[in-house]
């Protein structure tokens, strides 16, 4: 390292890689986050893909971004970046809004020629000045030229060479943050294992990028980012959708059942189908049906036949599945329904995040049709909640809707691979052979839990008929008797209410002795927790509870909420959870903090709002 560079020690730092969608910024970002995690940083990442599949090269709509937050106490991908890599003028123009005041910009000067500026609709020939960026912040590097020089002897054609420029940028960023390039090199070799010349070229460019940083007398500071004291174990980089898929597989293993997924492609849920379709190597049957209705219905059929059955979708698909979920309520079959929420209504904002399906999940069916509704709070938590959703479904013979969202589904964190005994056994409520002699009927229930016993086709003697028509509570035959209907409605509700006995209690985070209680649910956890932690560190008292279980609510929810002078429910919708809580816990004034912009909260806006609430 040259003398002129200063080393800044930071607790955490946010880097945003951006470029044309063909520039490979996702790969550069992914490798950077993986090596950071491997040296003990906490990480949280978020890819920001363009909405168009193939926008014209160099245009504003073709910009692809990847933000990564590394360090200690990392709960979100970060509000804004300390360092922005912009591979072309379009990236600079669209991404500069994500840079912190005083942050560093790295640009590839080779792609800031007149034609490039025109494509990105600049009006002058000086992009930096036009965007009002302080030149002192900018590290201008001829990345394309340097990449070409680096690979001049590689024997690759120019096109393939230029394609490696993202890795030169990665090398440079590795230098800036003192990352071990050797690990990045290993990852590239692994990634391009089938194309050794490409692998070799990438590793060379990576090292040259790193050395370039080391050798120039760059006036920017380099950073040393603090490691967190993370738990011992084997780690992998995990995004929310993969975590959801794996959680289901883990549950199937614990229940000793085959896993079936019936699905239909829809952004941002499709990767769950992709992952499970690959896991035929673990015996998973993941089937792409003709529509979402068939996705849900095939899963219901699979549940009837005795599999752990799930269906994955996003909001529009959940709407299509409503009637089928009602059937699973009535037939009392185990079914996991995953809704990766996106911006709505209708097709809405497919690639953006929201929490606007909560009431649809709770109530979007005809009749008195209670289901268990749970929500995942972080990418890694998707694993736990998918597991728990499956456990509840199987043990309580009910549909369970798991709400995740585009933000945590695509975001990733470092995740410790659990040992098999870290998760509980799953014991479905099967019929027992002796029940036949005791006059078993299909809707006979465990008197304590109200869960009906599961007889699976293939079992001798237990032949029975299920259906969507109301059944007699005693004989299980079709019944239109008014009093019986009331009994069955109550039994189905009691069965769901009973689940509350098994779900974990809420824990108060932040400073429990505060006047203000922040309430959140699902994928907003990271931003809320960051904001609350930051405020508590600054001596501003805030308490927080966060819900993973929504129906039924954890049994201590009411008691905690009633303790606080002010309660503010924060969610990415117009107050759906707040109104649900208001119905369940009457007499409490639930303040609301809502945002419906297709974007996650920023920790900064939360801090500002909570501070106002405290000071008021």
């Amino acid at each position: 390292m040259t003398e002129s560079t200063k080393v800044k020690v930071l607790e955490k730092v946010v880097v945003r890689f951006s470029g044309d969608s063909g520039d490979g910024m996702q790969l550069a970002g992914n490798i950077f986050s993986a090596i950071s995690a491997a040296i003990g940083n906490e990480i949280s990442t978020f890819p920001d893909y363009p909405a168009e599949i193939r926008a014209p090269q160099g245009t504003l709509s073709g910009v692809s971004g990847f933000q990564v937050h590394i360090g200690k106490g990392v709960y979100t991908p970060g509000d804004k970046a300390d360092v922005l890599v912009a591979m072309n003028p379009a990236a600079l123009k669209t991404q500069i809004q994500f840079l912190k005041k005083g942050g560093v910009v790295i640009i590839d000067t080779d792609s800031f020629k007149e034609a490039d500026l025109k494509k990105a609709l600049y009006e002058t020939d000086d992009a930096i000045a036009e965007l009002g960026i302080d030149p002192a912040q900018v590290m201008s590097v001829a990345i394309t030229t340097l990449t070409k020089e680096s690979l001049a002897d590689s024997g690759l054609d120019v096109k393939s060479i230029v394609r490696c420029k993202n890795i030169f940028a990665l090398g440079l960023v590795c230098w800036l943050f003192d990352r071990p390039v050797s690990q990045a090199g290993n990852m590239l070799s692994h990634k391009f294992a089938k194309k050794p010349t490409i692998a070799e070229a990438n590793v060379k460019v990576l090292n040259d990028g790193y050395n370039y940083g080391n050798n120039i007398h760059a006036s920017v500071s380099t950073y040393r980012v603090e490691s967190a004291s993370v738990r011992k174990g084997i780690y992998t980089d995990l995004n929310g959708n993969t975590a959801t898929a794996w959680g289901l597989i883990a549950a199937a293993e614990k229940a000793g059942l085959p896993l079936f997924l019936g699905s239909y492609p829809i952004t941002p849920a499709t990767d769950i189908l992709h992952e499970l379709a690959k896991r035929k190597d673990l015996g998973v049957k993941a089937v792409q049906m003709e529509d979402e209705i068939a996705g849900a219905c095939s899963a219901i059929g699979a549940a009837f036949a005795g599999n752990l059955a799930a269906t994955s979708t996003s909001g529009p698909g959940l709407a299509l599945k409503s009637e089928a979920i009602g059937l699973a309520v009535m037939a009392e079959l185990p079914l996991v329904v995953i809704d990766v929420q996106r911006g709505g209504p209708s097709t809405g904002l497919p690639t953006k995040t929201e929490q606007t399906d909560l009431l649809q999940a709770l109530y979007g069916r005809n009749g008195e049709s209670p289901v268990v509704v749970v929500a995942a709070s972080t990418p890694a938590n998707c694993y736990d909640m998918a597991f728990n959703a499956a456990k509840i479904a199987l043990e309580h013979m009910t549909p369970v809707i798991l709400l995740t969202d585009g933000f945590i589904a695509n975001g990733s964190t470092a995740w410790r691979v659990p040992e098999e005994d870290e998760y509980p056994e799953i014991r479905p409520n099967y019929v027992k052979p002796e029940m036949l002699a005791e006059g078993w009927k299909p809707y006979m229930r465990n008197p304590e839990t109200q869960v009906r016993y599961w007889a699976v086709p293939g079992m001798e003697g237990f032949m029975h008929r299920l259906g969507g028509l109301e059944k007699d509570a005693k004989t299980s035959a079709i019944s239109t008797d008014p009093a019986n209907h009331a009994v069955m409605v109550a039994a189905r509700q009691a069965k769901i209410d009973n689940v509350a006995k098994e779900i974990p209690q809420l824990e108060v985070l932040g400073n429990p002795d505060s006047d203000l209680l922040v309430v959140g649910w699902g994928g907003t956890y990271g931003h809320l927790y960051s904001a609350v932690t930051e405020m508590c560190n600054e001596g501003k008292d805030v308490a927080m509870i966060h819900f993973n279980y929504i129906n039924p609510l954890p049994s201590n929810a009411e008691e905690i909420i009633r303790r606080y002078k002010k309660v503010v429910v924060c969610e990415l919708n117009n107050g759906q959870f707040a109104s649900y809580l208001a119905g369940k816990i009457p007499g409490v004034e639930f303040l609301r903090y809502n945002k419906v912009e297709g974007q996650p909260f920023s920790s900064a806006e939360l801090v500002e709002h909570f501070t106002q609430l405290i000071e008021k």
Partner: protein, 338 residues
């Protein structure tokens, strides 16, 4: 232990009181199904009968097997899930013309296209029975029904044509009044590995009485229908002297011994021919110029979905040989924190 067990129709009956209208064609069809099941010999506990909603879809309640009366139109998708999840089960789907071809049309064509091993019983009364008499996708043009008081102004589906359009491997047809034929086609459907569609023309005495009598009435049936059997001559008629011959590219009904036609000219039915052109022509015969075809019209071997799915799972599992999720995860990109 049940391997060599023989069953009677009684073994496939439930204790439920049958609630169809007296005289409804569905009574005969459920009896035929129970007989066919006894003949096929798969144990009731290894049999699942799945239906949608409609009068016809009530059928599972009357079966002594596993059964599931689901939601309108979705029986096909649910039956598909049952079969995919447990290919060991023999799966039957019971449906009406509305359930199967209107609201459930999408699932129907796709299960046929996938060639999933489900035996599909389509009870076609050309009307919505349960909702009391509206026209269905098989109702003839011009029919006056509760929802078409001035007659329908749309053409119906011919179910067979949809099956062929969806590249079906099995299609058979019967009449509710022809118990023996119905048993025969249902048993053949069960023997077929793949999606097997059995259309049974059914009389709804309340809302569409006698809609099939043009072909089903005793006095005319022999002359207006033909019972096709694989490998046999296409002969019909009261006197058994009528036959189907090829006339250019078209089929023609002739009287043997008249106009120079002899038995040698009469076509032999080949249900196993993968080419469906002739099957389609046979299935489109409607009882007017040509007799309505009954029996197994098409029964062709082709890869079926569940066998292929099972094969693929076993193949991939065999290659990778992961014992557990953890083992799989550890085979990927990981790092250790010590």
């Amino acid at each position: 232990m049940e391997e060599n067990k023989t069953y009677t129709a009684q073994d496939f009956k439930s204790d439920q009181y049958v609630r169809w209208c007296p005289g409804c064609g569905d009574h005969a069809i459920v009896n035929a199904l129970q007989k066919a099941m006894a003949e096929v010999g798969v144990a009731p506990h290894k049999t699942a009968v799945i239906s949608g909603i409609g009068c016809s879809s009530r059928l599972p309640y009357y079966m002594g097997t596993y059964g599931f009366h689901t939601i309108h139109g979705r029986g096909g998708a649910i039956a598909s899930g049952v079969k995919m999840a447990n290919p060991e089960l023999t799966v039957w789907q019971v449906s009406g013309d509305g359930d199967c071809l209107a609201i459930g049309g999408n699932h129907f064509i796709h299960e046929v296209r996938r060639n999933i091993d489900i035996n599909i019983l389509l009870m076609n009364n050309k009307i919505y029975g349960l909702t009391k008499g509206q026209y269905s996708p098989t109702t003839d043009r011009g029919s006056v029904t509760k929802s078409s008081p001035y007659g329908t102004v749309e053409d119906p589906f011919i179910p067979a044509e949809l099956v062929f359009g969806a590249r079906g491997t099995f299609f058979a047809r019967s009449l509710d009044v022809e118990m023996a034929t119905t048993v025969e086609i249902l048993a053949a459907a069960a023997a077929h590995k793949g999606a097997a569609v059995c259309e049974v023309l059914q009389n709804c005495v309340i809302f569409n009485h006698n809609i099939h009598s043009y072909v089903a009435d005793k006095e005319v049936r022999a002359d207006r229908t033909i019972h096709l059997r694989h490998g046999e001559k296409m002969i019909f008629g009261k006197e058994n002297n009528r036959g189907i011959v090829l006339d250019g590219y078209m089929l023609k009904a002739v009287t043997i011994g008249e106009d120079g036609y002899t038995m040698d000219d009469v076509l032999v039915h080949d249900a196993k021919n993968p080419n469906n052109v002739l099957h389609q022509m046979l299935a489109m015969m409607d009882g007017h110029d040509l007799p309505l075809a009954l029996g197994v019209i098409r029964d062709v071997d082709a890869p079926n979905y569940t066998d292929e799915l099972t094969r693929q799972v076993e193949e991939v599992k065999g290659k990778k040989n992961f014992k557990s999720l953890r083992e799989y995860i550890l085979s990927g990109d990981t790092w250790e924190v010590k």
